[in-house]
């Protein structure tokens, strides 16, 4: 089991969600986040002072999938979220020790 964390542009959320459902991934958690990589923000004015807004709105997805689904999920996210410009985002993958379904105590991959 592996966890996929993806930080993407908020405008790409619907496309990514649909793409993941299409490859058979049903469990997902969405966070509203702010951040930046190499992307520059913008400047705003308030009472004659200019200041930089460099924490930009982002969406972060977390999904835990069986090992054999990891690459499919990654490709689905990339295809749906890529624009080719700086600010597209990043995907991180890490190992998960255990998954448990709260409703009925199921453990392991069947709990996903």
């Amino acid at each position: 089991m592996q966890k996929i964390e993806a930080v993407i542009q908020p405008s790409k959320l619907d496309a990514v969600k649909d793409a993941l459902v299409e490859v058979g991934i049903l469990g997902i958690t969405i966070f509203e986040a702010r951040g930046h990589g190499r992307q520059k923000g913008h400047t705003e004015f308030y009472r004659g002072r200019e200041y930089a807004v460099d924490l930009l709105p982002k969406v972060k997805l977390e999904l835990v999938v069986p090992d054999e689904m990891v690459e499919k999920a990654i490709q689905a996210i990339i295809t749906a979220a890529r624009t080719g410009r700086i600010g597209d985002g990043k995907i991180f993958v890490s190992k998960i020790d255990e998954a448990i379904r709260i409703r009925n105590d199921e453990r392991g991959e069947i709990a996903l």
């Binding site: 705003e44 004015f45 308030y46 009472r47 004659g48 002072r49 200041y51």
Partner: protein
Amino acid sequence: MRCMAKKYLSGSKVAQWALGLGLLALAAGHARAQTTGPASAISNGDNAWMLVSAALVLMMSGPGLALFYGGLVRKKNILGTMMQTFAMMAVVTVLWAVVTYSLAFGVGSGHFAAFIGGFHNMFLKGVPLTPIMEYAPTIPGQTFMVYQLMFAIITPALICGAFAERMKFSAMLVFMVLWAIVVYSPMAHMVWGIGGLLNASLGGKFPTLDFAGGTVVHVTSGVSALVVALYLGKRLGYPQKPMPPHSVVLSFVGACLLWVGWFGFNAGSALSAGSLATSAFVNTHFGAAAAAIGWAAAEWIRNGKPSALGAISGAVAGLVAITPASGFVTPMGALWIGLIAGVGCYLMVVKVKNIFGYDDSLDAFGVHGAGGTLGAILTGLFANSGINAIFGAGKATGFFEGNHGQVVNQLVGVAIAWTISIVGTLIILFVVDKLIGLRVSEDEEREGLDISQHGEEGYDFENA
């Protein structure tokens, strides 16, 4: 010793002393009443308009100013900021009934009569339901009293803009009570009260044209605001840390309520529902519009984009500047006054404030102090006897009409407003600071006024 003083002296103690002294004065004072007219002199039309105007002016405070200021502060201070205005609505009302109406509009005695009313109208004694002829011959005295009360409410509330996000609620209450007595009442008396030194319609020695309170309301509050901002010092992190408004949306709503409410503020100052009220109404609207354009245009040129906050701030600046002029100038004059104020206050707020570096958080001085001063002077230029022959039929009122001396009188009125505001405010600040302390602690300031002063949060979107 000082620690003990801070612990035992509270706002309520100060109030008790004030009440006691007032009752003493009431017992001692001799009666000199105003002239009361017959009930038959009441015009229902005038009274209807005046009651509506009073309601409009109150709306300017709540929710107008509460929203305007509230939107401009950071999220953690929204309730604290709104509470400051709301507290004025409650506290100033009671104070007005007890003593400040009498100080402002009562008839004073002897040499002091030009500067302050007496205590004869304390607890609204002698304020009739029939007209007070010197002030408003066609409406009940109590209509006049309650209309003026709404002005007394919003004036101190304006000052809150300068000390936003860092003043203790208790200290603010004590400060405002003292300010209403020491600064507002004398200024209101001088400009509008019987025997007032600056009263243009009742034969004051330096008749200052101030139709609806450019000096009484805006210069006093604006200049006092500057004094408080300088005395209290800057907010933590100012100016390095950007502190933009948490909701320009709220400020927008507030500003629009201010614009509409201002029709009561200015046109209601005609104290009647005739053509003078119409002039003031038209001028108010024109001044606001021209100023909004002026500020937005200046910002567009300087920053490349006109902001919503700039546009609404411009409108407010225009409303401030047209306040003293509203019942004296022509509609075209109002457009000019608005335009000049819009650009002038914009420069005050973006250039002058940054040059001097004071933290007038919500630009109370930049808009009200500067706008009011500018408006008062422009009134002396643009006043026209064709609109309001206040000095007598055929007698020129303003500079462009031929009365070159009026600008000097305007400057006298402005100078007195500045002086009484600076001196009065400094004394009050010093006293209140020594007694209970003015500013919240650093931790409280970081936490925000909502939690530290009121134990609540303005927004709670997490609880489903």
